[in-house]
Each structure stands twice: as structure tokens, then as C-alpha cells.
């Protein structure tokens, strides 16, 4: 096979082994019996001219739509997601495109606003006539966006959402990539309980994702025989944190889980530092997974636990992990986090589906994904009939001596959990 890449056009000239074999035999016949050969050649030329000996096509690229958050509370996280999408698009275009077509990302900024998401997806599908869609960042936006994609029967891999609520609506075209939010803290709570900690508190943002987190914490506290002695949600962290902090300090839980998006998480950390409050075991969602977490909060970071869907550790037992880390770093100049990895993995699953069914038919794609049980760069991918991710389990990370370590599960452990790390 010879591939010639000329601008936006791809020419393919295929010369099979069979054709080469035939050509050689014909030339032998011509040499032996010229008149007969001459007639034969004429017949052959005519037959070739009348068949698709070569393919020439000039097609429009495949448009893949997505909404990103260039500002607002999802900005940092959305950036990673966007780069995951772009890296995949770059790689797929470099390898010849999808279904023989170049792909082009159609991205719209939602400014982290819920009200903008639906119109964006509506426009992408009805006006831009995108061929495929990718999810925005966060459970709330995904929850909203999925209403539009479901209505248009567009498959959407929710790579940045994990609230179970998304999959409890009976939708057929939305699939999870992350483990559900309710399972984020299983590993952390298991570690706590195994090490003798019995009391727990949880503070969470009153949003779908963090509410799911808190529900999961409550459920698993019961299963692990722990006492959830403090549960508190908040809507406006700025105003509510001082009061919440006083209360939790009074309750003195051995372990505390704080679940919110980065801005609120950093605000709460700042206040804890100010109050010089530090429970024996402390966990945050999202922010500990950032590479710059220790840099931003200083030594306070040491000992902090957090759930993670994936970590940029080359020795993780998933195919293409090291290559992805390398390419992402080369592409962006930064280490990827699990948001980037999840976005890239979602694209790869979509690519796999399209390539397998060789079609952009959303129903066929949907059927393919429902039946899929595979391992991506992020780990196992398997969904149940609702589209909820059931193959992937989150891991637990902990900052130790300025370094992020995987402390759970044991099979991926880079360092054992250290419950005295904050004291060192």
C-alpha cells in the first residue's frame, strides 16, 4: 500500500500482490504469443478502465463537536479535557483520519455556565451538523448537555462526569468513563478503617457530583463500620466555610472528606491553615490530583488524600500509558492528569466504535459501546445497560514529602498510605 498525503486530499493507489502476479504472467504470454497477447492486452486495458482501479476522493472532514470551559470554576479542569481531545484529534489526523477523513474539532466555550451548554450542543448538532459529539467538563454540564444529545440520538461519552444521577434517567446514548462518584471514596475509607480510624466527617458542594460523592461516603462508612459524625453541604463556600469549619472542629472527626471544585477547595484549605486545623486524616476530591497541588498549598499538601481515576505513572498496567504520557507532555508541555486521560480515552473508545462499525451511525455506535468491555489507557471500560461505568475503579492518591503517590489499590501502590505524613 502506498499512501500519498497532499494537503487535504488523500490519494490511494492500491496494487495488490495478485495484480503483480497477473502482470508478470501476462508479460510472459505476450513474449510467447504476440497476436493473442495483443488482443488480450486490449481486453485487459478496457476492463481496467471500466473498474475502480484507483480511488480519488475529496470529502469534507469529520466534524466532532464539544463544549469547553475557558473561564469559570471548571476552567482548569476543562483545559486538561480539551488538550486530551486535541491530542487525540492530532494523532488520528496524523494516522490518516477516521473513516478516511480528517477530523476537525468544533469547540464552543460554555464559560462553566449551565445555561449555555444546551444551546451550544443544539447548535453543534442542528446547525454545524457535527458528525460526533464529545462531553463538556463536570457532571452538571454533562447532565444538561446529555438532554440535547439524547434528544438527537447522539452518543456522548461522559468523560468528565461521574454523578450517578446522569444514568438514572433511562437515557440510552450517554456512557460513563469515570467510575461513578459514589465509589470515589471507597478506597480512602477502606484505608482509614483498616488503620483503625472510626469517625468521619464530610463537607461537600451542593451539586450533583459532590452530592453523589457524599452519598457514597455515607454508604461506605456504614459498610466499613465507621461513624459518619459530621455531614455538611454548602452552596456558597465563601460565606459558609467559617461556620462549617468551626462545627467540624468541634466534632473532631478522625477523618475529613472535602468535596468541591478547585476554587472552593483552595478557599477551604486557606481557611484551615488560618485556623491551624488539621484532622488526622484529610481527603479532597479533584485538587489533590493536580500536579501543582503541593506547589499551591505548600507543606499542607503532605498527607492529603484524594481519589483519582488515573495517574500519570508509566508503570500502570494499561496499554499505551507511557506513550500517552509522553505524547501529552510533548503536545502540551505539561504532565496529564486523569481529566486529560479520561478525555483521550473517551475519544479512543469512540474511534474504536466508528472504526469497528465503519460508520457514523449513532445507533450502531451506541450498540457497540454497550457491548464493549475493553481496556483503555485509563483502565477498564465497561458499562451497564444504563451506560453507567462499571469496569473502572478509582484509585487513592496521597501527597507524601511533596510527591504524589498512589496508595490504593495495593496492586498499583507506589507507596503505602502514611497517616503521619502531615506530622513530618
Amino acid at each position: 500500500m502506498i499512501i500519498v498525503n497532499s494537503g487535504n486530499y488523500i490519494f490511494l493507489i492500491i496494487l495488490t500482490d495478485l495484480q503483480v502476479f497477473l502482470y508478470n504472467n501476462i508479460m510472459e504470454v505476450i513474449k510467447k504469443n504476440f497476436p493473442v497477447a495483443t488482443i488480450g492486452i486490449l481486453i485487459f486495458v478496457l476492463s481496467v478502465l471500466s473498474s475502480p482501479l484507483y480511488v480519488y476522493a475529496e470529502t469534507r472532514p469529520l466534524y466532532i463537536g464539544a463544549s469547553i470551559s475557558l473561564e469559570g470554576k471548571y476552567e482548569m479542569l476543562s483545559w486538561m479535557m480539551e488538550k486530551g481531545y486535541e491530542l487525540w484529534a492530532d494523532e488520528i489526523n496524523c494516522s490518516g483520519g477516521l473513516l478516511g477523513k480528517k477530523i476537525k474539532l468544533v469547540l464552543y466555550d460554555n464559560k462553566s455556565r449551565l445555561d449555555l451548554v444546551k444551546p451550544i450542543y443544539e447548535k453543534m448538532i442542528t446547525q454545524d451538523h457535527v458528525d460526533l459529539v464529545l462531553s463538556p467538563y463536570g457532571s452538571p454540564l454533562t447532565l444538561a448537555a446529555s438532554e440535547v444529545t439524547e434528544a438527537h440520538h447522539f452518543v456522548m461519552l461522559a468523560c468528565e462526569a461521574s454523578s450517578e444521577k446522569i444514568w438514572k434517567r433511562g437515557y440510552k446514548y450517554i456512557f460513563g468513563v469515570y467510575a461513578p462518584a459514589g465509589r470515589y471514596m471507597i478506597g480512602f475509607q477502606n484505608l482509614m478503617a483498616k488503620n483503625g480510624f472510626r469517625t468521619l466527617g464530610v463537607i461537600f458542594e451542593n451539586s450533583v457530583f459532590h452530592t453523589s460523592i457524599a452519598a457514597g461516603v455515607k454508604k461506605w462508612a456504614g459498610l466499613f463500620g465507621m461513624d459518619l459524625i459530621y455531614t455538611q453541604s454548602f452552596n456558597d463556600g465563601e460565606k459558609e466555610f467559617p461556620c462549617i469549619l468551626n462545627k467540624v472542629m468541634a466534632k473532631k472527626p478522625e477523618g475529613l472528606i472535602f468535596s468541591a471544585y478547585p476554587p472552593d477547595s483552595y478557599k477551604f484549605i486557606k481557611l484551615m491553615k488560618k485556623k491551624n486545623y488539621r484532622p488526622r486524616v484529610l481527603a479532597f476530591t479533584i485538587v489533590p490530583a493536580f500536579q501543582d497541588f503541593h506547589k499551591r498549598v505548600g507543606p499542607f499538601a503532605d498527607g492529603v488524600f484524594g481519589p483519582s481515576q488515573w495517574e500519570p505513572v508509566a508503570r500502570l498496567p494499561f496499554p499505551g500509558t507511557a506513550e500517552f504520557i509522553h505524547n501529552f507532555k510533548k503536545f502540551t508541555g505539561k504532565m496529564p492528569d486523569y481529566h486529560a486521560c479520561s478525555a483521550f480515552s473517551a475519544c479512543k473508545i469512540l474511534e474504536k466504535a466508528v472504526k469497528q462499525i465503519k460508520s457514523l451511525d449513532q445507533d450502531k455506535i451506541r450498540d457497540f459501546i454497550v457491548a464493549l468491555d475493553t481496556v483503555t489507557v485509563m483502565g477498564r471500560f465497561k458499562v451497564d445497560h444504563t451506560g453507567l461505568q462499571i469496569g473502572h475503579n478509582p484509585m487513592v492518591i496521597q501527597w507524601q514529602h511533596g510527591k504524589k503517590e498512589i496508595v490504593y489499590p495495593e496492586s498499583m501502590e507506589t507507596s503505602p498510605a502514611d497517616f503521619k505524613a502531615s506530622e513530618k
Partner: protein, 795 residues
């Protein structure tokens, strides 16, 4: 301990190399054992404990791992809340405990639920429930799941590892009973201790055996050979085999061969050394020079010469410090030089020092010292020569030189005085004699009587000065008479001169303390009187503010054997002593040596002194074979002590006082008297006096003329001037006259003191010696006595 010490001190232990090696080997073994037990055993125990701990941890970890796997499985299936699945999982996990226990046979395992009920156990428990609160102390928040703890389980002490599996709320305990836990450790301890001890013992005995077989016997042979070598037998020993001992034997043979050669060399060297040492010892010991080595002020070596010289034995010298030996006067100078050498400030020094010898006497050493090194320290090598005799000779020579200088000075003065005395005497004869003749012819109330008396007295005084000068030159005639010094002093104290002195020094008092039994002396009363006069006069002069002049006499016997430094030069015998002391200004040390020099005076010349007074004293004392001792303290006074040899008994008669002069008594009877004098005035004066006395006087101006005269004439008496330049002198004239007229009576008249020629003349028959200038009384007495004398002049 004492018994052990006694046993070890027995010769059998002390003198045997065998035990000397065995004991250290055992000691080393014990040390080895100690080191093994204290350094190697503890890590081994730790290792064994770690192994046990590891078994406990691994067994518990394995069980928890099974539970975790099952839990993960349930999570993957999202079946964690499925009761049937949970029960199945729990059952399966419990069953696996038995499988695990087969892998860890020492370990007992059990699983408890949250109520403390034993759900599964790999052993048969005494009971099936454990109070969960008993475990709470170990399952505290943040407990170390790897820690091995000590528990009391089923009435037994166990070492256990606890794990908690929260999903099932199980507590998994892996444990080993303490006795089982410690068993390998105790066994290891015993093994190591007994093993090391046994190893040491066996090694020691093997070493002992090998020592006896391989070392002891060959060593004995070497020892025997060594003994032989010490007795001079240099035969080599037999060399067997090829091991260290045979190498030692070969080396030993080489050594004795070398020793033999060295011994011969050493013998030769010792011989040479002995000869050399003898030579140098002989050199040092027989040296006439003093040789000594001094270090840190002490004499560490002294040769025989030094010992003999200082009269200390060598051992006594070696404990002496140099300062004990050096005379006080020379100490600083000598020690300073020796210290310079010992301190390295100088390489050699020279000095003459006085040393005290054992009997208290002193000697003088001329020392040449140099700096040397003895036993790495600086020392001083002294070479000394006894210069005592040389020193005394030098001192004497110095004294002699001093005397010679003084004598030369005297001689010079004498020559000067002698040169003028003769002429002065002749001149003074006119001044003394003519007034005397004239005074005989005039009355005392005549106008010229007093002036003539003054002229005569002045002449007499001038004559006295000339006489002093002659005394100094020893040309004055000393009239040796036996005199009493007390009388001399008393006479002086009553004399007009003393009265005159008192008038000048009216605040001076005289205290005379005569010795009643003072021995007489032979001497010239005139000179002795003058001596006293001079001393008293000087004493008075030394007390311008007044004071006391103490005059004393005493007897003194100088015994040579008991001589003191002061009188060491005295001749042995009796002395009559005069001492004159004052309370005046004293004489300075510088002036002391000069006081006896002629013309040396502190008085104003010409006013009260001539500068001859003390010279006359010195001359007089020396003329009388006496001694002078002067002691003076500046500001306190001076004491002159004069020692005169006492006169012998037979001569110890006092010169009778001369009878009062009477002209009639000495008048002549016309006898012929020949006056021979080269000076006309003398001839005239003599003629005048003699004619006045009634003699027939003939004169001759030279000796030759007199001899000529006597050839044709006779004379009852010739009066001869001694010096009559340029012709023959009085003695020669007399001799020639005697040839003509044997037994010729004569008188020698001279301005000089009595000398050898006068004495010769007296021996030839001269009857008297008359000192010029002529005095009437003197010449009258002399002529009368000469003419009356029936001296038998025979050659």
C-alpha cells in the same frame, strides 16, 4: 585471685613459652567469644526475630490480601451489597485460612468478627469468644499494621500480628506462642555460645599440639644452640625441612656466623678501644694539668691532678659545686665565664682563679675552659694549671718591682742629695762652725751674740735637712746604740720641737702609754727620735680640728709558725713596738702606697713639710731592720705601728748620756794635727777650732799633698776628708799614710753618712768618724778621744 596469681608466678608457668602462647590464645579465644556473642549474636537474634515477625506479618497479610481480592472482585461486579455474594466470599476467605496455615506451620491464625467471636481458627481454641475491647488497645486509630505485639491469648503469652478488614469488620490475628517464638533465638544463642567456646578450646588445644610438635622441639634446639653461642660455641644447628622453623634455623646459623665475625671485629675494636681508652685515661689521669668536666654547676668528672691539688677524693669532688671550690673574691668572675660556656654564649674562656682546697689553704689555677656536649647536654671542659707558686712569685716580683721603683726613686733622690750634701755640708760648716767660734769669743750680752746664735741655729737646721736627705739615701751615718724607745719618746715629748708643735696645734692632746718592760733596740737615737717626731707631727697635722694622738709601746714576738698575713714577712724574734695613732682625717687607699715616697706630701711644700718626713720614718725603720704597719680609715684616723727588732741582752745597755761639754776638758797640749780637706773653708774652720783648742794645726788640700807631707813629717793626728775629688779620697790617703807611719791616728770627716769606705777606714785604724759640718763640740771630743785612744793599729 591470689592463688591463681601464685600459680601463674611459678617458674613452670612464667618461664615456659608454651604457656606464654597458650594463655594468650585462650585469652584471645575468650575475647573472640565475647566479640562473637556481643557483636555477631545480637544481629543474628534480630534476624531470627525478624524472620518470625516476617512469618507473622506475611501470614496475616496473605489472609487480608485474600479478603481484599474478594472485596475487589465484589466491587468490580458491583455486588458489594449482595448478601449471598458476601456470604460466599466470607466463607471462601475463612476456608483459605487453613490453606495459609499449611504454608506457615508455626503460625496460628484466627478470624474474629466485630463482636469478638472466633469465626475461624487454624487450631483448636480453648474458647470461641474474645472480648473485642481487649484488642482495642492494639487497633487504635493509625495503628501500625506491621507491628508485632505481645498478647495474652488463651492463658498463654503469644507474639501476634493484627490486621483489620473493614468490609467484613473482621480482625485477623496471626500469632506464635512466645516459647515457640523464642525457641529458635534461644537455640541460636546456645549454638553460638557453645560453638564459639568449643571452637576456642579446640583451636587452643590444636595450637598447643602443633606448637609442641612443630615449634617447641626445634625451638629448644635453637635455645640450646643460643646457650652455646653465649658460651662462645658458634657451631651451627642442623636444619630440617622447609618451614618457618627451618628458615629460623637457617637464619640462626647465618646469625651466629655473622655474630662470630662480628665478635672478632668487636674484639678487635674493643682492644683498640681499650688501648685508646687507656691512652686517653692515662692522658687525663696522669696529666699534670687539672682536667674536669662541669655540668649544671657540678663537677661530673675530675682527674687525679685536680683531686690531688684540691685534696679532695674524686667522689667528694663529684658532689661539689664549682662555687664551693672557687674563692669568694674570684667567684663572680669565674662562674660568669663558666656559665657563658654552659649557656652556649661562648666557645672558650680563659681565667686565673683562686680555689679553696680542703685544708683551707688557697691555690691559684690558670683555667682554659671550653664548651662540650655530654650525654646530649652542654657541659664545660676545664683545663687548669697550678700557678700558685708562679702567682706568689709574680706577686713578690710585683712587690720587688715596687720596691725597686721606690729604691730607684730613693737612689735618684740619694744621688741628687748626695751630690749636693757634700758641698752643702762644706758650706754649712762655715755657717755652723764660724758662729760657734765667734760666740766663744764674745759675751752673751754683746750685740752680735744673738744674731750669731740665730746664724748658728739656722746652720744646724740646714745641716739636719741635709742629714735627712742623707738618711734617705742611706748615706747618713747611723749610730747604733742600745736605746730605750720609751726614753726616745719621752725625750721628744719634752723637746722644744714638741713644744713648738703643741703651740701650733693647741687642740691636740697626747696620750702616751709606755710599756714598762719594753725591750731595748739597737739604733740611732737621733733617727729614732726624728721618726717619732715625724709621726707625731704628721698626726697633729692630720687633726686640724684637734684630737688625741695616742702613743704606745709594747713588746711583740713574731713566731714564724704562727704568722698571720700581717706579719708573715716578719723575721722570727722579739720586737719593740711603737704605735702612733690619731683621730684625724685618715689616709685614702690611693695615697697609702705613696706616703713613704720622698717629696710626697699633702701639706703645702715649704710651709710645714719638706715631703721627706715619712720617707725618713720608712728609711729609719728599714735601717733598723724593722717593719711598718699602717692602718687608716678615712675620716676616723690613722695608726702607724713600727716594729724594731729587740736588742740582744749583752748589748742591752743604754748609751750613757754624754757629759756636759767643757772646753778645758778637751783642750789640747800642742799636739800636731794634720787637716786634709779639699775645701779651703773647711780647712780654715777646722784649723780655727783646733787652734782654739790648743793644737798645732797643719793643713793639706789634697790626699797626695798630705801623703807627701807625711813622708817628711809626723803628725799626732790626721783629720781626713773622705771625698776629695779629683784626687785620692780619705781612705786611700789614710792607707798611704799608714804605709809611711803605721799606727797613725786619724779621724774621718765627711758630709755623707757612714759608708763602707768609712767602715774600711775604721777597720784600718781610724779612730773616729766626724760628720760635717764641723761642730766645735763634736770635733773637740773626737780629737781628744782619738789622741787618748791607744788603739793598737796593726794590719
Amino acid at each position: 585471685m591470689e592463688i591463681l596469681k601464685k600459680i601463674l608466678m611459678r617458674p613452670v608457668f612464667r618461664h615456659r613459652l608454651l604457656f606464654g602462647i597458650m594463655l594468650p590464645v585462650i585469652a584471645a579465644g575468650l575475647v573472640f567469644s565475647f566479640v562473637l556473642n556481643s557483636i555477631f549474636l545480637p544481629p543474628m537474634i534480630v534476624h531470627l526475630k525478624n524472620m518470625n515477625d516476617s512469618i507473622l506479618r506475611n501470614s496475616a497479610a496473605m489472609e487480608i490480601s485474600f479478603c481484599e481480592d474478594k472485596f475487589t472482585y465484589l466491587l468490580d461486579l458491583r455486588m458489594e451489597e449482595n448478601k449471598e455474594m458476601n456470604l460466599a466470599s466470607k466463607k471462601e476467605d475463612l476456608e483459605r485460612i487453613n490453606a495459609i496455615s499449611r504454608r506457615f506451620p508455626k503460625v496460628r491464625m484466627m478470624v474474629l468478627n466485630k463482636k469478638g467471636k472466633i469465626l475461624a481458627a487454624t487450631f483448636k481454641p480453648l474458647y470461641f469468644h474474645i472480648n473485642p475491647h481487649d484488642l482495642d488497645q492494639f487497633l487504635y486509630p493509625g495503628f501500625d499494621g506491621k507491628k508485632i505485639i505481645s498478647l495474652n491469648l488463651f492463658k498463654d503469652k503469644v507474639m501476634a500480628n493484627l490486621k483489620y478488614f473493614p468490609f467484613y469488620q473482621w480482625t485477623i490475628i496471626s500469632f506464635i506462642p512466645s516459647k515457640d517464638y523464642m525457641a529458635p533465638i534461644i537455640a541460636a544463642e546456645k549454638t553460638v555460645r557453645f560453638g564459639t567456646f568449643g571452637t576456642v578450646i579446640i583451636t587452643g588445644f590444636v595450637l598447643l599440639l602443633l606448637f609442641l610438635m612443630k615449634i617447641n622441639t626445634p625451638l629448644k634446639n635453637i635455645i640450646k644452640a643460643t646457650d652455646k653461642v653465649s658460651k662462645g660455641d658458634f657451631n651451627p644447628i642442623e636444619v630440617k625441612g622447609h618451614n618457618e622453623i627451618s628458615h629460623l634455623s637457617s637464619a640462626f646459623n647465618s646469625m651466629i656466623k655473622s655474630l662470630e665475625a662480628d665478635k672478632m671485629k668487636i674484639s678487635a675494636i674493643l682492644h683498640d678501644l681499650s688501648e685508646s681508652e687507656d691512652k686517653y685515661r692515662s692522658l687525663a689521669e696522669n696529666s699534670l694539668a687539672v682536667i674536669a668536666i662541669m655540668q649544671k654547676g657540678r663537677i661530673i668528672y675530675a682527674n687525679k691532678a685536680m683531686s690531688d691539688l684540691l685534696k679532695y677524693d674524686l667522689n667528694s669532688l663529684k658532689i661539689k659545686k664549682i662555687q664551693d671550690l672557687v674563692c669568694t673574691g674570684d667567684y663572680k668572675k669565674t662562674i660568669k665565664k663558666l656559665n657563658r660556656l654552659e649557656n652556649g654564649e661562648s666557645e672558650k674562656e680563659y681565667c686565673k682563679s683562686c680555689f679553696k682546697i680542703k685544708n683551707g689553704e688557697i691555690i691559684f689555677l690558670e683555667i682554659l675552659a671550653s664548651s662540650i656536649s655530654v650525654k646530649g647536654s652542654r657541659a664545660v671542659l676545664l683545663h687548669g694549671i697550678d700557678i700558685t707558686e708562679k702567682k706568689i712569685a709574680e706577686d713578690e716580683q710585683k712587690e720587688l718591682k715596687k720596691k725597686l721603683t721606690r729604691a730607684e726613686k730613693m737612689e735618684l733622690v740619694g744621688t741628687l742629695a748626695g751630690g749636693v750634701a757634700h758641698d752643702l755640708n762644706n758650706i754649712l760648716s762655715g755657717i755652723v762652725s764660724y758662729p760657734e767660734l765667734l760666740l766663744m769669743d764674745i759675751q752673751e750680752d754683746a750685740p752680735l751674740y744673738k744674731p750669731l746664735s740665730v746664724i748658728k741655729q739656722s746652720g744646724v737646721k740646714a745641716a739636719a735637712i741635709v742629714q735627712d736627705m742623707l738618711t734617705l739615701t742611706r748615706r747618713g751615718v747611723v749610730v747604733k746604740k742600745t736605746v730605750d724607745l720609751n726614753t726616745i719618746i719621752n725625750t721628744y715629748l719634752k723637746s722644744p720641737e714638741f713644744k713648738n708643735l703643741q703651740s701650733f696645734h693647741n687642740r691636740v692632746n697626747i696620750d702616751f702609754n709606755p710599756a714598762p718592760d719594753l725591750m731595748r733596740v739597737n739604733g740611732s737615737p737621733v733617727h729614732l727620735s726624728k721618726t717619732v717626731m715625724n709621726l707625731v707631727g704628721n698626726a697633729a697635722e692630720a687633726m686640724p680640728e684637734g684630737g688625741i694622738i695616742s702613743i704606745a709601746t709594747k713588746n711583740y714576738f713574731s713566731c714564724k709558725d704562727k704568722s698571720t698575713e700581717k706579719t708573715s714577712h716578719f723575721k722570727q724574734g722579739h720586737y719593740a713596738v711603737i704605735s702612733v695613732s690619731d683621730t684625724g682625717t685618715g689616709i685614702s687607699h690611693e695615697d697609702m702606697d705613696k706616703i713613704f715616697e720622698p717629696f710626697y706630701t699633702k701639706k703645702v711644700m715649704g710651709r710645714s713639710g719638706t715631703g721627706l718626713g715619712m720617707s725618713v720614718v720608712w728609711g729609719t725603720v728599714k735601717d733598723h731592720d724593722g717593719y711598718i704597719d699602717v692602718k687608716s680609715t678615712k675620716g676616723k684616723g690613722t695608726c702607724f705601728t713600727l716594729y724594731f727588732p729587740a736588742a740582744e741582752k749583752e748589748k742591752n745597755s743604754i748609751a750613757s748620756e754624754a757629759a756636759p761639754f767643757s772646753l778645758e776638758q778637751y783642750r789640747g797640749k800642742g799636739q800636731t794635727v794634720l787637716v786634709v780637706d779639699d775645701v779651703e773653708n773647711q780647712r780654715i774652720i777646722a784649723s780655727g777650732i783646733l787652734e782654739k783648742l790648743g793644737y798645732n794645726v797643719k793643713t793639706a788640700s789634697t790626699g797626695e799633698q798630705a801623703v807627701e807631707y807625711m813622708k817628711d813629717h809626723t803628725a799626732d793626728l790626721v783629720i781626713l776628708d773622705m771625698i776629695m775629688d779629683p784626687g785620692i779620697d780619705g781612705l786611700e790617703t789614710y792607707q798611704k799614710i799608714l804605709e809611711i807611719h803605721p799606727g797613725q791616728k786619724g779621724i774621718i770627716a765627711s758630709g755623707f753618712s757612714e759608708n763602707s769606705r768609712v767602715k774600711e777606714a775604721e777597720r784600718l785604724g781610724i779612730n773616729a768618724y766626724v760628720k760635717k759640718p764641723y761642730a766645735f763640740e763634736q770635733i773637740a771630743v773626737a780629737v781628744k778621744k782619738a789622741l787618748q785612744n791607744n788603739k793598737n793599729h796593726s794590719r
